[in-house]
Symmetry: C2
Subunit: 454 residues, 2 copies
């Protein structure tokens, strides 16, 4: 029976927990096995440590392999660390080579080396270990199917039938020359529709879009999304086929990169933490950026300190200085978010730079006039001081213009010098809008001090 | 020859622009036609309005259909509005039904009605128009292949060969009963590996994961990502198969949803704008939230106004009040970002709520102690006033604790009452951390006023 998703995961979890608590381990395993591997992993992850350990000793190798493939990276490492090396080696042999390589890369080096030494299929995994996690090489799997130009459709299908027990057939087959250089791609659907004696070179698409092993995963995702590819081949410097990346990896990459940008924009530098992470990890991923933010905030304090005696004469200024600084910061944040996103999606052309800055200056100016006039009028009714209102309104016009321009300049500048614009922009931009906001407002106020203090 | 991506798009664009400027329109079209449809759309989008109009009148129907499918929604609408209705109807007939329905839904109602009336395949598209864009119904296509249980592999393959000229074969085939209710799914790869007389019921997976037409696109993406699906069937209330959503739609959804969250967190309410959008649209998507932010900032001003005479006596307080408010706000933003992301990825279990809030209170307290002590010591060396430093340090401890807790409470609360946590959290949270920050700092300072002002 087809089933609606997620209807009863909580219920299944309860049943499995009950069985484990009552020592009916086989029952718990039987329940777990009926579930989709993704659901199995989700429930496993919610069990307490003891229940997890019990299951890891009792589940069979193939089920543990599925489990480690489905768990998030850190969760998989935690589970793997509980498994004796010899057993872990068997599990790794059973896993997809790219998943096994990822896990080995995340394990403590000693445990990884031992497990690798015990593995039967270590040769499939070892070449993958050299590629950084966030590159095409780190994402690709080495289980793909390569054919030659002169292979016929009938031969190809016969070959696929033979290997289908051992390996998952991909949706795309690749055609290589005798040096294993990539020369074309065959869509499984075209193979199916082809007459039996059709040669691969007749149905292959010679315009294969590929990436090299060192390509950044974000770029890989962008290319696959742009060209709607379910799989993309990875080649080495000699254009020899060395692996394949499939759409499901890309979905993970897109989620990872979005998380990274969202976290970085909010000054969280560790994408692996979430609200439930241990306090120690929270501090590690958040404190350094708060310290940096504090430093720029104290710089803004220093800017204000030059106006201390003016504030002493007109304390009312202390009420509104933050409005000017804050709204400049908000305007800048809007631009930082849009610019970081446009960079991530590859939507900003360098040619448009001057136009964009001009447009954002205009936008900031207009936002400043619209916000500044409303605030000026509102504060006039509250405090009844025309000069205070004028100074406040003008300062908002100035600081929103500044904020809007730095909000595009800073991320684009950081991108140009190779720094992640999402991570550093917020701090730099706030430093500017805070300091500029206080300076513009208070120095304007200094000019009309007798009218404002009066 | 396989080609590296993007090598020469700028160069191709230049050549096409030159050809168009010199009136060699056929040359421009010939150059455009050799490119991948996705590249064609990218270049088309960068051409000026006149060049676009020229191409739209001269390109053939199929090429325009490809183009409109590849362009972003708004770009496609702009282009479609330039095409005479009769021609547009032919283009729409040529497009995939789901893409045609999306475009019709975005066109001015009158133009859409006229085009629909002129279309030959209007019947394929009309049923799709009733579903909102952001639901499974709005994403799905109606071109899928449904077989019966007793169909043999040979019959299925023969059928696929027959239709392969007219329609794109999907990677998954669906099995339905005589009421068209979904009963199973057949992976094309299993079909290929099956003996010719195998019946579909023998190779189909009866545990099909499906969604209903009204399912939100974010949920669809989450399910497909979780279960690594290249396609998911969509059913009506009677479990009758009505459409299919493929992985490429999901990639778009993931990008859209990430953009939406990033924009909303930065108080930009219109996901369709970017730094290059017209100033008018910038104002529309940004001004309302700046006004709301200003309102909460003025509320914070009102909080400060109760301490006006204290600031008049100790203007130095005006230097540091924003540090307390700002760092509380930064701490809260970190939690808002993590919580919004955890909600989007379905990672937060309601059961964990109390534990999360406690953990974040602890985190905020520790961050407050670590930031507060450093700031307190630093400011002591700067200003030499122990009481000022103590008050400042304590206020930071208090406000970072407050910020950390509201940073999880507010997004979770908004989610619980059905409001987008990304859009409203920032403003509510800043309102709290600003007001609380000023209040805690200034009321503590009031207690030690003679020591600080001294």
């Amino acid at each position: 029976m087809p089933t609606a998703v997620d209807t009863s995961l909580e219920f299944q979890q309860k049943r499995i927990e009950n069985a484990l608590e009552q020592g009916r381990i086989q029952d718990a395993i039987a329940l777990l096995i009926t579930l989709h591997p993704a659901d199995r992993a989700e429930i496993f992850n919610r069990l307490d440590d003891e229940a997890q350990r019990t299951l890891l000793t009792r589940l069979d190798i193939a089920t543990i392999a599925d489990l480690l493939e489905e768990l998030d990276d850190e969760e998989a490492v935690e589970a793997a660390e509980e498994i004796p090396t010899e057993r872990l080696a068997d599990v790794l042999d059973e896993m997809e080579p790219d998943e096994a390589a990822d896990l080995l890369g995340d394990l403590p080096p000693e445990q990884a080396a031992e497990a690798l030494a015990e593995m039967e299929d270590a040769d499939e995994v070892r070449p993958l270990l050299v590629y950084p996690d966030e590159t095409a090489g780190g994402l690709m799997t080495t289980t793909y199917i390569a054919l030659r130009r002169h292979t016929t459709a009938a031969q190809a299908i016969e070959f696929l039938r033979q290997v289908s027990d051992r390996t998952e057939i991909p949706f795309y087959l690749f055609v290589v020359d005798k040096e294993r250089r990539l020369v074309g791609v065959v869509d499984l659907r075209d193979l199916l529709a082809a007459a039996p004696d059709t040669k691969m070179e007749a149905i292959m698409d010679p315009d294969v879009i590929f990436v090299t092993a060192g390509t950044d995963q974000e770029e890989v995702a962008r290319v696959m999304a742009k060209y709607d590819l379910a799989a993309i081949p990875v080649v080495d410097a000699q254009r020899r086929l060395i692996g394949v990346i499939t759409y499901d990896d890309i979905v993970d990459v897109l989620e990872e990169e979005a998380t990274e940008d969202i976290y970085h924009l909010a000054s969280v530098s560790d994408e692996d933490i979430d609200p439930e992470s241990p306090v120690k990890e929270q501090l590690k991923g958040r404190l350094p950026w708060l310290y940096l933010n504090t430093l720029t905030a104290l710089f803004a304090s220093w800017v204000i300190s030059h106006f201390e005696n003016i504030i002493a004469q007109a304390a009312v200024l202390a009420l509104f200085q933050s409005v000017v600084a804050g709204q400049g910061g908000n305007t800048a944040s809007q631009n930082v978010a849009m610019t970081v996103r446009a960079i991530a999606l590859g939507k900003l052309s360098p040619k448009a730079l001057v136009r964009v800055i001009w447009k954002q200056f205009l936008t900031g100016l207009l936002l400043g006039i619209l916000v500044g006039s409303v605030v000026g009028i509102g504060v006039y009714f509250w405090r009844g001081n025309l000069y205070l209102s004028l100074v406040l309104g003008l300062a908002l016009v100035g600081n929103l213009s500044v904020g809007s321009v730095v909000g595009v300049l800073v991320p684009l500048g950081l991108q140009a010098i190779g720094v992640d614009p999402a991570l550093a922009s917020s701090i730099l931009v706030t430093a500017v809008t805070d300091s500029a906001g206080f300076f513009i407002f208070l120095s304007l106020a200094a000019h009309f001090l007798d009218k404002i203090a009066g």
